[in-house]
Amino acid sequence: MTTTLPTTHTEAARSGTARGAAPARRRRPVDWSAPGVYLVALLVVTASVAPVAYVWIGGFRTTPDINADPAGWPNPWSFESYLTVLTSTRFWGSVFSSSLVGLGTTLGVVILGVMAAFVIARYSFRGRGVIYALFAAGLMFPLTVAALPLSVLLRDLGLQGSFLGLIIPQVAFALPTTIIILVPFLRAIPAELEEAAVIDGATRIGFFWRILLPLSSPGLVTVGVLAFIGSWNAYLLPLLVLAAGGMPQELWTLPLGVQQFSTQYSADTGAVLAYTSLSMLPALAFFLAAEKRIVGGLTGAVKG
């Protein structure tokens, strides 16, 4: 659900490094005399993490054990629930679907987005402002509003119940954010570089491929990460396209799959906890790997 706002070009270009650069700017010495601050930090961190930890640890308990004492510690530690989930085809089927849809969405939105942003940022032509305004206005069109007609449209196009029917609308809905982040990025690349490329005989398209794309890779990574996380966590569109469209349950994306599992096996609390915590794992791992990008994207977003 991350959203980003238009940024000025310098700030967008800087966003990737803003987080890292700021502490270096600070000259205040390390403040060890702040137990109160640590207390607040501890409280906030505990409140943030405890529910997640409960789910994780609960997965190591058997269902009878949980029913006897819902807040107990695993005794003994049982790996049965986790093993059951990890050896089930539906879990891996969901991981596969989520990955496929996430990668497809990311590739689609980055490719289409950077091409459109290139034209908006570096060509001058009549109608450019209109195109930009159209995409910017798209930020105001929430998926919920389009959901019903979209499912009719996908049905008429024969895309209902297919991965493509999920990927294409997700790309469409991610384009506004992507273009609005990328346009300032692409504009920030100095005109001198383009002049030099032209003098060396590059075409405009050559300039795009050889110079613009490599230089804007931090921006591309940021929008790619945002699109991937958005797709990975999406629920409403998969619900309407995959679940209502007749895709077999084993191939539902993770949020749909975990919801379905928890309804179907609601009596087996241990298994539900294990399934839920394993579903968190990819998102958390991805977040830790891409934390700088995500936070950087936010920083860029806010400073606009």
Binding site: E11, L134, A136, L139, L148, R204, Y235, S262, F287, L288
Partner: protein
């Protein structure tokens, strides 16, 4: 050679000043002379590059939203021809259904509570954490964890925790507060506030991070100067930091409002709007009643859209004009 000539206009179309919107670039001199020969190629490039994105965007975003407007005047089950025109009946039905009015009320409650409760908490925590703490980036990463989880997965976790035989009640009993145990999400008197609590858990980290990012833009020198002039911590925060943080706060309020108006996933997986509509939202109502009744559902969608748009435009007009220079922006998805 033509290629080089084609590249001509690009030089002048280079970066505009940071504050200029894309539409404000000046027509270039280079573009004007010998235009005809190059225009064909230039427009071909524009079409090839912007075309795919435009086609996908118009087909799958703009068209469905427009279609929602059209469908909303029909009685249509999604199959067969669109022919039973009913005028504004669907809208009348929506605004006379107490369940839908209740859903609007719940959305408004969550919007107001988010701004008035989550905002000050997030700002206070961000101000406290905005110092050079050992382990700061670790703390920040942990605070951000709930935000990274899918709303569905967070919702399911809380559903388990808050069930009558779940972890929260067990914990209350274990620490001797047994009389406080509740069927949290099944008690219509408190369910909306429990929902708000879950949402705060999910989105407070985002707010704190946003504020911390905004605080990085407040120059340290100002604090030092104020301290030298004898200002205490409280004065520095309220007279210097908060005013400088205002743009960030305004943007957070905007995101929070739009997100709250479009709330769906969390409610859908935890309560489906129940008990007896206590946690219903416009989007939940839309999906619950819209599948099969495409005309009525579309009318709900249009109402949701118009409310979000009016809130966004009014807010931008009056609160954020300096921050965004009028760009239309949105919420969290």
């Amino acid at each position: 050679m033509t290629d080089q000539l084609t590249a001509g206009p690009a030089v002048s179309a280079g970066p505009a000043p940071a504050s200029a919107p894309p539409s404000a670039s000046t027509p270039s001199r280079a573009a004007r002379d010998g235009r005809r020969a190059r225009d064909g190629r230039k427009w071909l490039e524009i079409a090839l590059f912007a075309g795919p994105a435009l086609i996908v965007f118009i087909t799958f975003v703009i068209l469905p939203v427009v279609l929602a407007g059209v469908y909303s005047f029909y009685n249509w089950n999604g199959l067969g021809p669109l022919e039973r025109f009913v005028g504004i009946d669907n809208y009348v039905r929506a605004f006379t259904d107490p369940l839908f009015l209740g859903a609007i009320g719940n959305n408004v409650t969550i919007v107001i509570a988010s701004v008035l409760i989550q905002g000050p908490i997030a700002i206070a925590i961000a101000l406290l954490l905005n110092r050079k703490l050992p382990g700061r980036s670790f703390i920040r990463a942990l605070i951000f964890v709930p935000y990274v989880l899918a709303e569905v997965i967070a919702g399911l976790s809380w559903k388990l925790l808050l069930s009558p035989r779940g972890g929260v009640n067990a914990l209350l009993e274990a620490i001797g507060l047994g009389e406080l145990t509740q069927p949290w999400l099944a008690n219509p008197d408190i369910a909306l506030w429990v929902m708000f609590g879950i949402l705060s858990w999910k989105y407070l980290g985002f707010a704190i991070l946003l504020m911390l990012a905004g605080l990085q833009g407040v120059p340290e020198e100002l604090h030092e100067a104020a301290a030298i002039d004898g200002a205490n911590w409280w004065q520095i925060q309220t007279r210097i930091t908060l005013p400088l943080l205002a743009p960030t706060i305004r943007i957070w309020i905007f995101l929070s409002m739009i997100g709250s108006l479009q709330l769906f996933d969390m409610v859908w997986v935890t309560t489906k709007g129940g008990p007896v509509g206590a946690t219903n939202t416009m989007a939940v109502y839309l999906i619950q009643y819209g599948q099969g009744q495409y005309g009525y559902g579309s009318a709900i969608a249009v109402i949701l859209f118009v409310i979000s748009l009016v809130v966004a435009l009014l807010y931008q007009r009056f609160a954020m004009r300096r921050d965004l220079a009028g760009a239309v922006t949105s919420g969290v998805r």
